[in-house]
Amino acid sequence: MTSDDWIAIRLTAQLAAVATLLLLLIGTPLAWWLARTRSALKPVAASLVAMPLVLPPTVLGFYLLLLMGPHGPVGQLTQSLGLGRLPFTFAGLVVASVLYSMPFVVQPLQQAFEAIPERTLEAAATLRAGPWDRFFSVALPLARPGLLTATVLGFAHTVGEFGVVLMIGGNIPGSTRVLSVALYDHVEAAEFADAHRLAAGMVAFAMLVLVTLYVVNRPRRDGTAGAR
């Protein structure tokens, strides 16, 4: 493997780690809200979150490019704050990845939160636990299998993205040139042996992640899911 490939691997891992962390921070309250709200806005919010599932990544990337570009509203905001421009930077990739992987984090979390019976949370309320307390002492532990699934899917999906990266980040080694783009370059240059090493590595990584997920989240004999 070339040193450029190693740089791409490290960059991909960094991107996925940062994006997953942000996804959990944003996605958990969002999933909790979606699971519990009776607001009329719920279908709209749920649709927005699910959008990356049905849109071609290039569409998302295109609009993000416009929004974050020098004349877009987000771009003007970041420039006025002295943060510079986001496109073709690592930070831009993070923003795009968070949006693009959102459904893979929010949906398993939302399902896990929805599976918690209202009466279990009410029991906690009658045992003197306030709303935040109930969330951290009952909801989050009970949603643990969903949390694990969300983390793994969010990470793995960010590792695998290609279209959005190409639109937003381009192909700058050490800054935006992630694994999938590196693989594409190898194929373009007819370096099939190098392409194989990266591709097979990603297949093995995906398999490992999914097997781990299914093993850890398999139903226990006492009827509860997930590891304690």
């Binding site: 019976p117 009466r119 009410e122 906690a124 045992l127 307390d133 009952v138 009970l142 006492d222």
Partner: protein, 358 residues
């Protein structure tokens, strides 16, 4: 005094009640499905947002007139529901600790060990909740509520999900509960048998309104209430075990402050033990004179207080005052007519079966 004035409209259903419940003993909210008893209990707990006022022994939990509404977690109460709702991610011990840990030590007035003992769950402490039987789950749920040292215990059909055997397993624990702890209990039920066994005070609800409320014994003796109808209709009497007949395995129970006696099967209760006795209306027959040559050993002399029609046109209900205690008999109207039963008449009530409740 537990005081509640609550109003809540939901679609076609309106809850509109005023309650004043004693701060001692068990108050039962009783009524048919859909009468609003669960909604009322939830509103008392603050789990349901009704309009009005709730005060527990002088502490105001809700008063919409002065914009006071304490959420459930700030109200000093325990809440037990049919499904137990134990925390599946915690073992029994940590379920019991949940409410307790959220209370400063100086306010933990109820110690954990006696509760664990009382509910017979000491052998379950390390168990995972998924491996408990229905009766065990319910006992853990009750212990968990009590362990948080509430000033009021609310119970919503805690036995309804259990079969007859499990019910019989949990009931004695509920009994001991209000005997050994001074916490008032508000108990929702649609089973009159449970109410007759546990309650001291009865609130009858129908279609979101209070039909009538009062001490249990008085309420069950009233012929104008729906509780006087049906196969399980009957009175409860306070009694004391005063004599044991070892030869025939019977005990004599003094009822009506010692003015009358009933013989019942000996269940090994010590002499002097106070018990509650249930006499069903269908097990009482009336005669104008003491009977001989009958297998029924319990005959109580009393005076007819009231005669009323039962639901079926063939049947009548008669309330007889025996000393200070009322007994209700269900007879055919033909018999009532033949005996010319009317208020003021002296009769002998023959009691076929006496159900002893510890």
């Amino acid at each position: 005094m537990i005081e509640a004035h609550l109003r809540l409209a939901r679609g076609a259903f309106t809850l509109d009640v005023s309650l004043a419940l004693p701060e001692r003993g068990v108050s039962a909210l009783f009524g048919p499905s859909g009468c609003g008893k669960t909604t009322l209990l939830r509103a008392l707990a603050g789990l349901e947002r009704a309009e009005g006022r709730v005060a527990m022994g002088g502490e105001v939990w809700q008063d919409d007139a002065s914009s006071v509404f304490m959420p459930a977690h700030r109200r000093d109460l325990g809440y037990v529901i049919q499904e137990a709702a134990l925390f599946p991610h915690l073992d029994v011990q940590r379920n019991l600790d949940y409410g307790r840990r959220r209370l400063p030590p100086d306010r933990q007035v109820i110690a954990l060990d006696p509760i664990v003992e009382l509910l017979g769950i000491s052998h379950l402490m390390q168990r995972h909740t998924g491996s408990l039987s229905g009766g065990e789950r319910q006992r853990v749920a009750i212990a968990r509520a009590l362990a948080s040292s509430p000033r009021l215990l609310l119970m919503d059909e805690p036995l309804a999900a259990l079969d007859a055997q499990r019910k019989a397993e949990v009931l004695p624990y509920l009994h001991r509960l209000h005997e050994s702890l001074a916490i008032p209990i508000v108990y929702v039920s649609h089973a009159i048998d449970e109410v007759a066994q546990l309650a001291n005070h009865l609130v009858l609800l129908d279609q979101g309104r209070v039909v009538s409320a009062g001490p249990l014994a008085e309420m069950l003796a009233r012929l104008d209430l729906p509780t006087a109808r049906g196969e399980s209709a009957g009175v409860v009497l306070d009694a004391v075990v005063v004599e044991r007949d070892a030869r025939w395995q019977l005990v004599r129970l003094a009822v009506a402050a010692g003015e009358a006696s009933l013989w019942a099967r000996d269940q090994g209760l010590p002499l002097g033990q106070a018990v509650r006795v249930r006499v069903l209306a269908r097990d009482v027959s009336l005669a104008r004179a003491p009977q001989t040559g009958t297998s029924i050993g319990n005959q109580l002399r009393g005076t007819i207080e009231a005669v009323a029609d039962d639901d079926h046109p063939a049947l009548a209900l008669v309330r007889v005052r025996v000393g200070g205690a009322p007994v209700v008999a269900r007879l055919t109207r033909r018999s009532a007519d033949a005996l010319q039963l009317a208020p003021g008449l002296e009769v002998w009530a023959q009691v076929k079966t006496v159900a002893l409740m510890e």
